[in-house]
């Protein structure tokens, strides 16, 4: 009979310290050796991890009220504007916001040395952050200006809320033009000088549950070194499967997650302010998701190896900026990780932007937490739309 397990059953095993937990890396080799059926009955949870630059990240902060009170109209943290059009002393610091007066790309390529992502890293590093705010003065909030130092421990709440993280899959970026490009995929050398990719491949959370059979609203995750939750699908969520020329399934793409967690639990090792020359600032986020092996289908998907998962090769000189559908081919993560691929007949060196060693560390930490009974699985109250939902992203006509 086919194995069917429930979240409750697995959580009982975690509580009693009997759950069998492996990382996605370990699962791939286990399934090759023992087969899906046996591994599904032997293993309860598979842990995944990813550690890469993730735009669409930020944190809600509540600073507490000053005496006399201020209704903040504009607010800056270490000179980086935060959005305070929420309430009197609430603000959202976005990862890609840069310092007021930053030269941006006026001296191309700009450096973007400090932005919202760096503010978030400084906060979790427990460094003092300069808060400056102005108000316009009201009868109930008379104070018009405040400048003070805060730390993460001083303020009421700090909630990391990233509307789009954990991209299921991502482009392999190349440059067909004759000039150097500075992109969010790093520096791309002219004439196919290099190829950059940005997922952890077989360890990457959404590549391992491509049909969203287990991940949904309420899934408990590793986020920034603390515990977080999946709260919705991410923005631009458009899960699908890549179909190769011969109709072969080249793995999933397009899914994203909105995630949330208590920033006060997190650490600067797992939330790192990041700058891309000529592009901007962002935040590198550590994120890991446990996948319960509920049945053989879930196990089979989670056991996909780097040779079964593919990334589209996209030219960032023409196709990407102009939203053209042209794809130069598909390349497996096994090839990408080998250090070189062939594009248009030319051998091109590859490099990742997401840290595989850190992704592996996240999967191991999560495994450890679950084995110790410190981390229970969160059963989704609702699963997320999957490839069957037929979601298409919209075009902004301007």
């Amino acid at each position: 009979m086919a194995v069917e397990k429930t979240f409750q059953e697995i959580n009982e095993k975690i509580k009693s310290g009997k759950a069998v937990v492996v990382t996605a890396e370990e699962l791939v080799s286990m399934v090759k050796e023992k087969g899906v059926k046996r591994v599904t009955s032997e293993v309860d949870v598979v842990t995944t991890g990813t550690f890469g630059p993730m735009c669409s990240s930020g944190a809600f902060l509540n600073f507490g009220h000053s005496k006399p009170k201020i209704k903040m109209y504009r607010v800056w943290l270490n000179g980086v504007p935060a959005y305070t059009g929420i309430a009197a002393v609430d603000a959202y610091i976005g990862a890609t916001e840069v310092r007021e007066g930053d030269p941006l790309n006026s001296n191309y390529p700009g450096e973007f040395r400090y932005g919202g992502g760096h503010v978030i890293q400084d906060l979790v590093a427990r460094k003092k952050v300069l808060l400056k705010a102005i108000g316009y003065g009201t009868d109930c909030y008379p104070c018009k200006e405040i400048e003070t130092e805060i730390t993460l421990d001083d303020i009421n709440e700090a909630i990391l809320f990233n509307p789009r993280n954990a991209y299921q899959n991502y482009n392999c970026a190349v440059n067909l033009s004759s000039r150097t490009l500075y992109t969010y995929m790093g520096m791309l050398k002219p004439n196919l000088g290099n190829a950059h990719y940005s997922t952890s491949g077989l360890l990457s959370p959404l590549l391992k549950d491509p049909m969203f059979r287990t991940i949904g609203i309420g899934t408990r995750i590793f986020l920034g070194g603390g515990i977080g939750y999946v709260v919705w699908n991410g923005t631009q969520h458009s899960p699908s499967f890549i179909e190769g020329k011969d109709g072969k399934n080249l793995g999933p793409a397009g899914g994203t997650l909105a995630v949330l967690g208590d920033l006060k639990q997190m650490s600067p090792r797992w939330l790192v302010g990041t700058s891309f020359i000529g592009y901007g600032a962002t935040l590198t986020v550590g994120l890991g998701i446990p996948i319960p092996l509920l049945n053989e289908e879930v196990c089979r998907y989670a056991a996909a190896g780097d040779d079964e998962l593919f990334a589209p090769i996209v030219d960032y000189s023409e196709a990407y900026p102009n939203r053209l559908p042209d794809i130069l081919g598909y390349v497996s993560y096994a090839e990408l990780k080998s250090g070189k691929i062939t594009v248009k007949g030319k051998e091109v060196p590859t490099a990742p932007l997401s840290s595989y060693p850190r992704a592996r560390e996240i999967a191991r930490i999560l495994k450890d937490w679950i084995q110790k009974g410190e981390f229970m699985l969160g059963e989704p109250v609702q699963l997320l739309p999957n490839a069957g939902a037929g979601i298409k992203t919209n075009v902004l006509n301007g």
Partner: protein
């Protein structure tokens, strides 16, 4: 003159010229090549230790033929506390001084192969590559 360490950078157009031969023959300099990355029709870099009376004249000759000459007083350091081993530098570094060890995928820095071109300093997303004087 005291011995001097210099970095030479030359474009693809002059990579085929015998500049070292000229330094030895015309300027009577003792050249010790510490590092070299020269390929026909490609940009090249070289790190030299030069001894002799006519160092200034020799360097002047190099500049005249289009070689960019930089004194090697700087050193690039990988700040291991900051480096997250993402790998973004590894296909940019022109000499392979920054590379991924497989299968661990950890980033390593071999300073002996570094020619202080600063590309990693500019492009490292977490600013882990630093210039020391």
């Amino acid at each position: 003159m005291p011995p001097q360490k210099v970095v030479l950078r030359f474009g693809a157009d002059i990579a085929d010229q015998p500049v070292i031969y000229k330094l030895v023959k015309d300027y009577d300099l003792v050249i010790n090549i510490l590092k070299a990355n020269v390929n026909p029709q490609k940009e090249g870099t070289m790190v030299l230790d030069i001894t002799g009376e006519k160092i200034a004249e020799g360097i002047e000759y190099l500049r005249r033929v289009g070689v960019r000459v930089q004194s090697l007083t700087e050193e690039i350091i990988q700040n291991e506390d900051k480096c997250v081993s993402c790998g973004a530098c590894t296909a940019i570094c022109p000499t392979g001084a920054l590379y991924l060890e497989r299968p661990s995928m950890e980033v390593y820095f071999d300073s002996d192969r570094c020619v202080v071109c600063h590309l990693c300093v500019k492009t490292c997303p977490v600013r882990a590559m630093e210039v020391h004087f």
